[in-house]
Structures are given as C-alpha cells and as structure tokens.
Symmetry: C2
Subunit: 164 residues, 2 copies
DNA sequence: GTGATTGCAAACTTTTTGCATCCGA
DNA sequence: TCGGATGCAAAAAGTTTGCAATCAC
C-alpha cells in the first residue's frame, strides 16, 4: 500500500497522519472484499493498539469514506459496514462499488461487479437530468445451498406423507 | 382498498384484525410512493387514534412487510422507511420494488421502476445457483436543479476571476 | 505552540422487548 | 374464554458528541 500517497491525500485536507488513522486503513486494506463493522475493525485494531477507542475508529472510518478509500454499506442486519473501495493512488475512471446478493435463508453474502446499470443510468440522465455518481445494488434471494436444503426438506415431507 | 382480502390474509396467518393494524395499512395506502418513517406513520396514526403507541406502529409495520404489502427501505439517513408495495389482492407475477435515485446535493429522492436487472439476476443464477426474489437499487448522484446551481456557482466564480 | 486528534464516558437515536391489561374471535 | 395485540416504560444497540489530555506538524 502506498502510504505516501495516503499522507498526501490527508495533507490536502489538512488532516493529520496519526497512528490510529494509518492502522484503520491498513486493517481495511488487509481485508479486501470483506464487509467489516466498526466493531470488527475495533477488535482488530486493539490487537495492535490496545488503547484505541471505538469513537476513534468511527471517526477514522468516516475520514476514509470521505477520501473515497472505503465504501459504506448495509447488509440489513443493523450494522453499518465498511469495505475497501480502492487503495490510495489507485485511480479509477469511475467508482466501481461492489454489488451484493444476500441469502434470505442463511445470510450469506455474495459480492460481484457488473456494469449492467449503464442503460438505466443513461435513461435517468435523459429523463430527469439526474447524473449518477455511485450506486448500490442489493439482491435478495436464496443461495444454492439453502435451496438444496429446502429441496431436501420437501423430499422428506413427501416421503413422510407417503409413509403415513 | 379491499379490506376483506386483507382480513383474509391476516386470518391465514392467525393474526387478528385490530383497529391499529387497519389504520396503519390505510395510512400507507393513502400515501403511495412516499417513503415514510415509523415516526411519520406514528404521527399520522395519532391523529385518528391518539392512544396508539409507537411500538404498535413498529409491530404492525413488520406484519405488513411480512405480508408483502409494504417494502422496507433505507435512504441512508438513519431511518428505516416504509413504502406501499401493493394493495391487498393486487397480485403481481413478480415483486416489483421501486428503485431510488438519491441526490447528494439536496437529498431529493426520485423513484422509478425498471427491469434492467434481469440479465444480472440470470447470470447470478447460472454462476452461483443464487435465485433472486427481490432487489433494492439505490443510485447516488446529482439532480438537475443541484447541477444547475453548481453550474451557476462556477459561472459566478469565473466572472469574479475575470473582474479580479 | 497551535490546532487537530484521541480516549473516555455520557448522551443520543432508533428500534425492540417485557409485562400487565385489553380486546378480537 | 383464550391467545394474540396493545400501551407504556425500560432496555438494547449502534453511533455520536463533549471535553480534557495528547500528539502531529
């Protein structure tokens, strides 16, 4: 991870480079693709900086979101979650947030990237003059393993019915 | 609104038809397309049933969500919001949740329906065996009026620069 | 030195829960 | 009558804030 670019980004916003701030970013960078809660990050942070406070974690997560290094998202379980968006210096022509498919059966979360919203975003711009800068897509449904369990349960029931 | 179908739906789940339950549904039906918070609905409900409790509102909103009469959504302002999904008896071959475009400038919310996720959902099913039953799409960006304000501000600045 | 940042605790906000009472079927 | 539903208050849970002490620059 390019720390000097991060320091530059902070300097531009007149923010200081503190140990805690660096640590939070490092931890997020060490867990790409994961959807960590503030509490998760707090627990990880305390391993290396036991005196850190939860409020500091919240404040620094917000700084990193403002710098567009993290995405803030919700998987509808009551927690705000954070996911690495890009490493400092990794410029992207367009912000490319992950989409998530959440299993209603077991709560498993599948992440994916896909650019199928372009048509939608274009029509929105033409019709409303609304220019899209970011999007969040959540799909709800049932994953393969839950569907197979469901199938098994149905078989059981049928067998039971036959036996009865 | 077909009250008898609603009563039938409740009976099937062994739930009772209470005044409060009816009232919450009526209020939601009277505000289609709006994204009301529990507090909003509580305020509206108290006009006609001053003794109603906020907890009752929450409990009945959840009942209506379970019956698929309401959609639960978040516009990222810290409130869970509720929107009429369909009236009792209005069967839809597929659940058709609204999508929302949220303006980062002024907070305005634009709702729309569109079926551009079919390809995405199909590929998800083929690749992961994940079957989608519902989806939530949020687009973030800037609405026309905020973009025009932004444009004006740029013009001002240019003029100032020229004058200086 | 100055101003941002931290850690701690208290406060805040939204939502849920326990429980005695009430009411619908 | 009986079990679900209600209203109230208290609790829960996640997040934010106030403030004195500390740290980065």
């Amino acid at each position: 991870m390019d720390e000097s670019i991060f320091k530059q980004m902070l300097k531009e916003k007149k923010l200081k480079v503190t140990q805690q701030r660096l640590l939070v970013l490092e931890l997020m960078a060490a867990h790409p693709g994961e959807h960590l809660t503030a509490e998760d990050i707090y627990e990880l942070a305390r391993e290396r900086c036991p005196e850190i406070g939860l409020a500091t974690v919240y404040r620094n997560l917000q700084v990193l979101v403002d710098l567009q290094l993290l995405d803030k998202l919700s998987l509808d379980d009551g927690f705000t979650r954070y996911e690495l968006s890009q490493l400092p210096g990794e410029e992207q022509e367009k912000h490319h947030r992950h989409h998530h498919a959440i299993c209603s059966g077991c709560g498993a979360v599948f992440s994916f990237e896909e650019d199928l919203l372009d048509t939608l975003e274009q029509s929105l711009c033409e019709r409303l003059g609304f220019v899209v800068t970011d999007h969040e897509v959540k799909l709800y449904g049932y994953c393969r393993s839950c569907r197979e369990k469901q199938k098994d349960r149905h078989s059981d029931r049928q067998i039971t019915e036959v036996i009865d």
